[in-house]
Subunit: 794 residues, 2 copies
């Protein structure tokens, strides 16, 4: 039955429609070549001269004609079936194609009124491409209809799947380049089809574009046999439809048939979901094999260009220093598209071709999902104060900070279930990260078979888990970019897997914030737990707090970093992040039972300030401060307070000020980050001349990087993780890195000569303690009772 | 034919051998459970009591019995066919299995003489596992035979392929967990088979272990149909052999047959390669489906444990607070392996079982490739001075620094071609990064079909390119870990894709440097080019110099960062890095034509110092310095010298000192990094009180992070990349980030009141220049001639 339809000789396209589609494709190709080469004479009304050509030729031709072909055919099926479809351009530099496509359908001119649909507009359209102050060679944020910039390769499919989750009527046509297909993230993203519910989610229609070559190599997927290729994608769970060739008319016929068949299959999958037959859906995908640089120069200076890696970028050099005949070749090439048949005298696409594009919001450049901020609605948030833990006094027992926030997240899910606009992603760690309360109200969405003893799996749910940080991040980004909300929970050490994805998303946020027609989207919220200090059991490989170092290099207007010290603070921070827009919020929090410090009112006040003196732990209220003990992060806070209690017991004359930092950027100057303290406020807290002992969650140098230009910089001594770790106890992790209570007290003594001989003796006592500790854990495999049972006392 | 062999009813194992193999497996399983639970009474000679059990139960049972099964069967084929085979344990925490395997074969005791092969040794073996000061729950560096630590998942296959490249007689049995198989890097690593030459490379035998579950989810590959699974791996180009079941005797028979068949197929592939038939080889792989937690408790407290996610870690809690009957269940479980039949009275494995293990270096824990430093030989290096570019005077024209070093690398390849111990890896960028001279002597190795107009592809070659930074990094790591040398060349921005892999490798290097029996391996050399300042044409997505920020957080004994300012310096640095051991060397260098500063003698002297005053550009030899202008990186050096030339022309009275930094860690104190300058030397260079204007290649805060505790910290003003970039000109990239010559001069004027009204007027002139620049590039799409043609004049 399936075979029959796809091989049927019945024509999908009438001869007339075929010719029109081909003409539309020629127009897109013409505009693409124009973007690569011209700055004057856009319609070639006069003979082409060197001064019409740009001084610097930049851009990528290779992928472009194939993408124009796809875009043109997608327009047809959108109109024919009244689809809501968007276009994701995976191949790196297919910018000319999406710009041409959106210009021809009118959306480009709508968002850039200066780029009119006439000869002058064409000239500007061509000139701006890959030009200083112009637009880049990718489907960049500046391109209407784009939710995905193909600069770094690998994430197009994950973004597409994220976009269709909870968008049942949306189809994302995702063009995957055969270069991109070699990346790891893309290679696993094909499995996303096991996480989609045909009833409640939309459809991703992948179009694997076998263009044959990368920059200078063939691609792997273009050089394996047809049989292997088909097996591979059937093995990935897809129903592949092949369109292969280079003869335009036949390719138009084949592509039209393939797309009709794909739409039919998509409808069938949706139908089957309403009438379950026990089989997992097999979604269609298209494998399009077309020559790289299709319709461009076949040979230049004796080198094969079309269907070769040499068509990757500028296939034909045209300049004063290039062979003179190249100019003529360019003109012939452009004229081969017969622009005079496509554009009227004024330079506007002729009406019968205009009529091929969808209308209004159905145009792929105008689909509302591609400017997700337009669709974004606030979450309904329960009052986070209702989830407060009782803290009768500082040091009260805790049950694990993330565990508490799990109950809040559970109710966030519940409150927004009808809107379907909130999801949590994670690499199989939602339970391990102790957010398990969410499973009281929802499940993990999973479209593969479910066995008897599985837990929390269902065809529909707000939690999506796959053992791929790339997929979690990519799905969430796609979900946010289309106007929804979400959270990614991850082991702290392994978030580095998505360092580069974070970079690209942060850059997207910065750039879109500078584009007038782009609307703000919900923040990307990353909850990092299973942190370095509590990876004593998993060891050195699981210990890396450096993601926040990576984050702080991005634009200050985009990034936020929070390290709540206890459960109530985490609740307050989480609520704040879920309300925010257009940031990347990184929250670092503990999951193990640990002391609680602030009741909810205190937590709200503390988190609102982001940094502050903890009076209950300080004894400098009525006298000059001797030493500032600062802390940031849950374990550093615990060790600092334990150190303070030792100091207050043994050195009662020392006046200690305890400062806790929740909002990391408070440390930076207000001139560098909007959250930063001004110098006056900073100096009031940290003093300008007293020693500061700072216990920090991450690498100590990050604090120095943030505070290097503060008055008291030279007095600041930071303890943090310095790559010392192994299989040990959690307290010993702090000892190995000299951030434990005993080292902190010794740091104070070292800096305060007034501690005198009392200090000397205390130091000796503490050194003995450390030896006793090592001895104890070697014998008993756990920490000494006095460590495990230590409690803050007022 | 193939079907026949694998389905043959002929028995591979005699009944006696089958029973022995099963007994060996029981022994391994017994030792594994012992490691998870016991600290006394290792042979259960007395009734098990709570005090025999560890206080903290840590470790992962789920994957372990399956891995014991595999290890035991691999031992048989190693002996039967006299194979050189090593074992890579992909699944995260299979430590108990590899420890058990290496203990039974004797290698564990050889490297840890304290862990004897008797009852006392067993007790120590058990106690050390996941115990403070002991060994971790992975196949860690401490485990003999391991070249791969399964803490972070995704890299086992890439490591395995790297290990067999140019090792034609080696077989790596790579166990891939079905959890790990969901990661991106692993999903694309299956395609590595297209890059292997059966004649000159060895063999990877992947064993996909369908254990069924991750921490709390089923795995994707365990829940797709058998048909899909077979299609997927045939599509990946493999010849999959299935072993599925849970009944031990039948599974032993099936596994033995499968391995015999695999060895036969490997021989066939090697034979076919010597008698080519035009087909790409189809290497065998094994898909082993066995229950998670196989042979462990079936049910505990009403929960299904075996063949369920609940057997992932400790399947049965045994402690004072756990149900009392659990202790009895543990004893029964351990006794089910009948230890009394396996170990003699003294606790030693009985001789007839010992005889099943291979001998000497054939034991997987003793295979020389797994301690690659033992096999490591220095490269034969041509004299890098022979590749020097002529620099008559500073500012001479250059041809692109990496382009020059390409010729040196070409000859490194040539000189070592017979040893086959040097490879270059890259994601299709070796030409783009202008190392193309290497193709004068070698090719890209590629085992898929080659077409007429392809370039530099061959069945054998020293360059390996796939569009996956993960693969490049993973292959190179595997290559280095087995005692060879190499280089990874990459676009600077996209090296972040392997941030997390770098973390793990740096941790491996640090840990192995602390293990007495581990030998040092060759350094991991990463050449970053196509850098931020010259990504004006690709735009914002391609601009990120932050990898070095990431690198400097790792242990100072392991990491080195070099930013050579010109071609001769790059040659000197490259030579140095290729001679070094056990570091990660990051080299950041330019690929575009740019001015050259130092002749070879000067370059060697400068790079040897790592930092120094450039006298030719300084005019403070005979007078007190007014300002220090420091630079690090090729573009910052160019802009600094251009700024200096402006100052010397317009403000001739100002005494400028120019410092260039090649070795980034020179900035850090000698107490923190062995390359660091001591304070005296640092202060002599930078002064203690003069303004320092520092033009830096990367994010400016990195310099502050390295120098925060230097005397002149407050006087240091750093310019660098601050996330401002778009499609523009290369000079405009420096303007956008205020690191251009004009801003640098203005920075000097701002800090030197003595420039007086001359300074005021010069500043105004420079501001006008900046406006003129913007205007010019908007009109012309390129930089002003005075920028493009600027030359340093003495």
């Amino acid at each position: 039955m399936e075979k029959e339809l796809i091989n049927s000789t019945a024509e999908t396209l009438s001869p007339d429609l075929l010719q029109k589609i081909n003409a539309y494709w020629r127009a897109a190709n013409y505009l693409s070549v124009g973007q690569l080469y011209l700055r004057h004479n856009p319609l070639l009304k006069e003979p082409l001269k060197l001064e019409h050509v740009k001084n610097m030729l930049l851009g990528h031709w290779g992928t472009t004609p194939g993408q124009n072909f796809i875009y043109t055919h997608l327009n047809r099926i959108i109109k024919q079936y009244d689809l809501s479809m968007i276009y994701v351009s995976g191949p790196g530099h297919g910018g000319p194609a999406v710009v041409a496509g959106t210009y021809l359908e009118g959306t480009h001119t709508e968002v850039y009124p200066n780029i009119t649909q006439d000869e002058d507009g064409l000239r500007k359209l061509f000139t701006q491409f890959s030009y200083p102050g112009g637009i880049s060679s990718h489907a960049s944020p500046q391109t209407p209809g784009s939710i995905h910039e193909g600069g770094e390769l690998g994430y197009s499919l994950s973004h597409s799947f994220g976009a269709v989750m909870d968008n049942p009527d949306l189809i994302v046509a995702c063009v995957v380049g055969d270069g991109e297909a070699e990346t790891g993230p893309l290679a696993t993203a094909w499995h996303s089809n096991k996480f989609l519910n045909p009833l409640t989610d939309g459809t991703v229609l992948p179009i694997l574009h076998l263009n044959g070559y990368k920059i200078s190599n063939p691609t792997v997927l273009a050089r394996i046999s047809h049989e292997e290729l088909e097996q591979l994608f059937r093995g990935y769970g897809w129903n592949p439809i092949f369109v292969e060739g280079d003869e335009p008319e036949q390719m138009h016929r084949d592509m039209a048939k393939a797309l009709d068949y794909a739409v039919d299959r998509i409808k069938q999958v949706k139908y089957d979901a309403r009438h379950p037959n026990g089989c997992r859906p097999r979604w269609p995908m298209i494998i399009l094999r077309s020559p790289k640089g299709w319709t461009g120069p076949k040979e230049v200076d004796g080198y094969k260009i079309e269907d070769n890696f040499r068509s990757h970028q500028i296939p034909l050099s045209v300049s004063a220093s290039a062979p003179a005949e190249h100019l003529q070749m360019l003109e012939s090439w452009m004229k081969s598209y017969r622009p005079e048949e496509l554009f009227d005298e004024k330079g506007k696409l002729i009406a019968e071709l205009q009529a091929l594009a969808p209308e209004g919001d159905k145009r792929m450049g105008a689909n509302p999902h591609t400017n997700g901020g337009n669709l974004l609605r606030n979450l309904r948030l329960p009052d986070f104060r209702n989830y407060a833990v009782t803290v009768e006094s500082p040091g009260a027992d805790g049950e694990g900070d993330t565990h508490v926030s799990g109950r809040f997240l559970r109710d966030v899910i519940k409150e927004n279930q009808d809107k379907r606009n909130f999801r949590i992603f994670g690499p199989d760690e939602t339970v391990s990260n102790r957010l398990d309360a969410v499973f009281e109200t929802t499940n993990r969405q999973w479209d593969a078979p479910i066995a008897e003893h599985d837990e929390f799996l269902a065809a529909e749910g707000s939690i999506t888990e796959m053992l791929s940080e790339h997929q979690c991040e990519g799905w969430l980004e796609g979900y946010l970019l289309t106007g929804r909300h979400g959270l990614f929970n991850c082991y702290e050490a392994f978030i580095h897997i998505v360092d580069s994805m974070f970079n690209q998303h942060a850059k997207w946020l910065k750039t879109t914030s500078e584009i007038s027609w782009r609307r703000r989207i919900a923040s990307l919220n990353i909850l990092l737990t299973s942190t370095v200090w509590r990876q004593d059991h998993n060891g050195f490989t699981h210990q890396d707090p450096g993601f926040i170092d990576h984050v702080v290099n991005k634009k200050a207007t985009i990034v936020r970093v929070y390290l709540p010290p206890d459960a109530n603070c985490l609740l307050s921070v989480m609520d704040h992040c879920l309300r925010s827009y257009h940031y990347v919020n990184v929250i670092v929090a503990g999951k193990h039972p640990a002391p609680q410090w602030l009741n909810m009112d205190e937590a709200v006040a503390h988190c609102t300030r982001g940094i502050g003196i903890w009076k209950f732990a300080s004894n400098d209220q009525d006298a000059e401060t001797d030493v500032v003990m600062a802390c940031c992060g849950d374990v550093p806070t615990l060790e600092t307070l334990a150190a303070v209690s030792i100091i207050r017991e043994h050195l009662p004359d020392i006046r200690v000020r305890v400062i806790n930092v929740v909002d990391l950027f408070k440390l930076q100057k207000s001139t560098e980050h909007t959250h930063g303290l001004n110098d006056k406020d900073y100096n009031e807290l940290f003093t300008t001349d007293k020693p500061v002992i700072f216990a920090f969650h991450g690498y100590p140098w990050l604090v120095h990087r943030l505070t290097y230009n503060r008055a008291n910089n030279t007095g600041m001594h930071v303890r943090g993780y310095k790559e010392e770790g192994t299989i040990t106890t959690s307290f010993d992790m702090t000892v190995l890195n000299e951030m434990d209570r005993f080292h902190l007290v010794m740091d104070v003594i070292d800096r305060l000569p007034q501690t005198g001989s009392k200090g000397v003796y205390l130091k000796q006592l503490l050194q003995d303690k450390l030896i006793e500790h090592k001895h104890y854990i070697n014998i008993n495999g756990k920490d000494m009772p006095e460590i495990l049972n230590w409690k803050w006392k007022q």
